[in-house]
C-alpha cells in the first residue's frame, strides 16, 4: 500500500494536526514505510476469525445510573487555558 502526499494531508486534516509544508515529504515516506510493514497482515486468511477488541474478551461493565460524582467545575477550570464566568473560552465559531 502506498500513500501519497494528498492523502497524508487529508488524514492530517481529519486528525486536526497542522503539518508544515516542508515536512510533508518525509512524513509521507515514513508512513508509507510503516504501512508497507503492516501490509504483511493481508497475507493471512482470517475469514473465519472473530475480531478481538479486548484481550480477555471482556465486555464493558455497566453501573447503576445514579449520580456518584460531585461538582468539581472550579477545580477543573482552574487548569484550563481560558475560562470566563464558568465557561471555557474558544475563538468565535458563529458570526
Amino acid at each position: 500500500m502506498t500513500i501519497n502526499q494528498d492523502e497524508i494531508e487529508k488524514i492530517a486534516e481529519l486528525a486536526r494536526i497542522r503539518i508544515d509544508k516542508d515536512q510533508i515529504g518525509e512524513l509521507t515516506q515514513r508512513i508509507t514505510e510503516i504501512l508497507g510493514m503492516v501490509d504483511q497482515l493481508q497475507a493471512v486468511d482470517t475469514s473465519a476469525v472473530t475480531p478481538m477488541a479486548n484481550p480477555l474478551d471482556a465486555t464493558a461493565r455497566l453501573r447503576a445510573d445514579v449520580i456518584t460524582e460531585t461538582n468539581q467545575r472550579d477545580a477543573f477550570q482552574a487548569i484550563a487555558p481560558a475560562v470566563e464566568n464558568g465557561l471555557y473560552l474558544v475563538p468565535k465559531v458563529i458570526d
Binding site: N54, L56, P91
Partner: protein, 488 residues
C-alpha cells in the same frame, strides 16, 4: 541505604535502623547529585516527599504501619498525581497539574509510600528508547552513551542508579520489560486489567497496563500487592481475585514446565544474548524445571498487528487534546480550526504525530476492514497461539529484547528499526498476558533480560520463577558505578 532492596528497607524502617525521613533525604540527595546527568526524573517533589515521610514516621512510631509505609518510590510521569505536574513526556501536558490522583497512585498513597517524583518517559509512552521525551532522553546508568530503553526509561534509570529503590511503569508493548532488561532490573507487566488504568494517561486502551520495576522479583511482588485490584471506575478493570504475591515466592520449581518458543531464538537474536538466555534456562532446569520446545506460529505478525491496533487506539485517545480544557494551547488562534490544528502541531512530537496519522488512516472509511478489523482478527490468532502453548507448559521463556541497550541516536531516525526492538514483547500485550523481565547477565557490560510469560492472572507463578532464579544468580544485585560510587 540506597543499595538495599525494598524488602530490606522495610525491615530497616520497622526495626528503627533509620527513619523514613532519613531514607527519603538519602534518595533526594542522590537525585540532586545525579539527575542532572541521567535526566531520570522530570519532576522531583522534595517538599511533598519529606512531608509524607514525616507522617510515615509518625505511623511507624505508633506501630500500626502497613508493609510499605515510609518507602520512597518514583512514579512514571503518566500517572495523574493531584497537585503535582503530570507531563506524560509531552509538551502538550507540560503545564498540566491534575486535579485528581490515578487509582494506582491513591493505592500507593494509602499504603504510606513516599513519592519522590515523576520519571522521564517517551512522549505518551510511544517509544523504546526514551528519546521521544519532550524533556530530552533519560540515560542508561550502566553507560550514559546508551539508551535506558523505553517508554518507562526514566523509571528504569532511576532505580538502576539508586535514585529510587523501586518505581512504577506502564507497558503497552514492552515499555516496562525492555527498559528493565536494558538497565539490569526486574520488571513485571501484569495481566491486562489487573492494575487500574484510571488516571493513567491513555495510549492504547486495550493494551495499556501498569506494573512495578525494581531490583528483585520479591520487591516487584511487594509493589504489586499495593497496585493490583479491581477498580469500579475503570470499565476494563478485572474482577478476578487478587492474592498476596509474596506467598508463592519460595515454592520449588520442581516439575515446572517451561516452553521455549522456537520463533524467539531465530536470526534476529544477538548471538551473545542468546547464549546468556540459554545459560539462564539451564539454571532453571537445575532448579527442577523441564524445558519444552513450543511454537508460536503467528509471531512474525505481532509487529504489524500491533502497529495497527496501538496507533488506531492512540489516535482516538489523543483526540481529547484540543487546547480547550487543559494542557497546551497555541497563541492567538484565528478560529476554532486553527486552535485545534496548531495546538496539536505544537503540542505533539514527531513519533506521536506519526502514530496518530497511521491510526487515523487505519480507522478511516474504506480502510477500516483492511487494517483495523484485520489486525484484530490476527490478534486473536496470536492470542490463540499462547492458549495452545499453555496447554503444554506452565510458563514461557525467552529473551526480552533482541540484544542489549543501543547507543543514543542510533535508531531515532528510523521508526521501523525502533519498532523491531519490541519484537519479543508486543505479543504479550496483544494477548493480555502477564510478562516479566529478569536480569540474566551482561554482554560487554550491558545488562540483558530473560523474559518470562505466564497464563492470565498467573503473576504469582512468574514472580516465583524469577525469585527462585534470583536465589541462584547474582545478576539482579549487580550495580553500575553511579550506584556504588555516589554519595551514600
Amino acid at each position: 541505604m540506597h543499595t538495599k532492596s525494598v524488602a530490606n528497607l522495610i525491615q530497616g524502617l520497622q526495626q528503627k535502623e533509620f527513619s523514613s525521613e532519613e531514607l527519603t533525604r538519602c534518595y533526594l540527595e542522590r537525585i540532586a547529585a545525579h539527575n542532572g546527568l541521567l535526566n531520570a526524573y522530570i519532576t522531583v517533589d522534595e517538599d511533598g516527599a519529606l512531608a509524607v515521610a514525616r507522617a510515615a514516621d509518625d505511623v511507624l512510631a505508633k506501630g500500626n504501619a502497613g508493609p510499605l509505609t515510609g518507602i520512597p518510590i518514583a512514579h512514571k510521569d503518566i500517572f495523574c498525581t493531584a497537585g503535582l505536574r503530570t507531563s506524560c513526556g509531552s509538551r502538550m501536558l507540560d503545564n498540566f497539574v491534575p486535579p485528581y490522583d490515578a487509582t494506582m497512585i491513591k493505592r500507593f498513597n494509602s499504603a504510606g509510600t513516599v513519592t519522590l517524583g515523576k520519571t522521564n518517559m517517551d512522549e505518551f509512552a510511544m517509544g523504546s528508547s526514551n528519546e521521544n521525551s519532550y524533556y530530552g532522553p533519560a540515560l542508561n546508568p550502566w553507560d550514559t552513551s546508551l539508551v535506558p530503553g523505553g517508554s518507562s526509561g526514566g523509571s528504569a534509570a532511576a532505580v538502576a542508579a539508586g535514585l529510587a529503590p523501586a518505581a512504577t511503569g506502564t507497558d503497552t508493548g514492552g515499555s516496562i520489560r525492555q527498559p528493565a532488561a536494558f538497565c539490569g532490573l526486574t520488571g513485571l507487566k501484569p495481566t491486562y486489567g489487573r492494575v487500574s488504568r484510571l488516571g493513567m494517561v491513555a495510549f492504547a486502551s486495550s493494551l495499556d497496563q501498569a506494573g512495578p520495576m525494581a531490583h528483585s522479583a520479591e520487591d516487584c511482588a511487594l509493589l504489586l500487592n499495593i497496585m493490583a485490584g479491581h477498580d469500579p471506575l475503570d470499565s476494563t478493570s478485572s474482577e478476578h481475585a487478587t492474592e498476596d504475591y509474596c506467598v508463592q515466592l519460595g515454592t520449588s520449581l520442581q516439575g515446572l514446565r517451561i516452553g521455549l518458543p522456537r520463533e524467539y531464538f531465530k536470526d534476529g537474536l544477538d548471538a551473545q544474548t542468546g547464549t546468556l538466555i540459554k545459560a539462564a534456562l539451564a539454571e532453571l532446569e537445575k532448579l527442577g524445571a523441564t524445558l519444552v520446545d513450543i511454537s508460536l506460529p503467528h509471531s512474525s505478525l505481532t509487529i504489524p498487528a500491533y502497529y495497527v491496533i496501538a496507533p488506531a487506539e492512540a489516535s482516538t485517545n489523543l483526540s481529547r487534546f484540543d487546547g480547550v480544557r487543559y494542557g497546551h494551547r497555541c497563541e492567538n488562534p484565528t478560529d476554532l480550526h486553527d486552535l485545534y490544528t496548531r495546538t496539536r502541531e505544537e503540542g505533539f512530537g514527531d513519533e506521536v504525530k506519526r502514530r496518530i496519522l497511521v491510526g487515523t488512516y487505519a480507522l478511516s472509511a474504506g480502510y477500516y476492514d483492511a487494517y483495523y478489523k484485520k489486525a484484530q482478527q490476527v490478534r486473536r490468532l496470536i492470542k490463540q497461539d499462547f492458549m495452545d502453548a499453555f496447554e503444554q507448559v506452565d510458563v514461557i521463556a525467552g529473551p526480552t529484547t533482541p540484544g542489549p541497550a543501543f547507543p543514543l541516536g542510533s535508531k531515532s531516525d528510523d521508526p521501523i528499526a525502533m519498532y523491531l526492538e519490541d519484537v519479543y514483547t508486543l505479543a504479550v500485550n496483544l494477548a493480555g498476558l502477564p510478562g516479566m523481565s529478569v536480569p540474566a547477565g551482561f554482554v560487554d557490560n550491558k545488562p540483558i533480560g530473560l523474559q518470562l510469560i505466564g497464563k492470565h492472572f498467573d503473576e504469582s507463578r512468574l514472580l516465583n520463577v524469577a525469585h527462585q532464579y534470583q536465589q541462584q544468580t547474582p545478576w539482579h544485585q549487580q550495580y553500575p558505578g553511579i550506584m556504588t560510587g555516589g554519595p551514600a
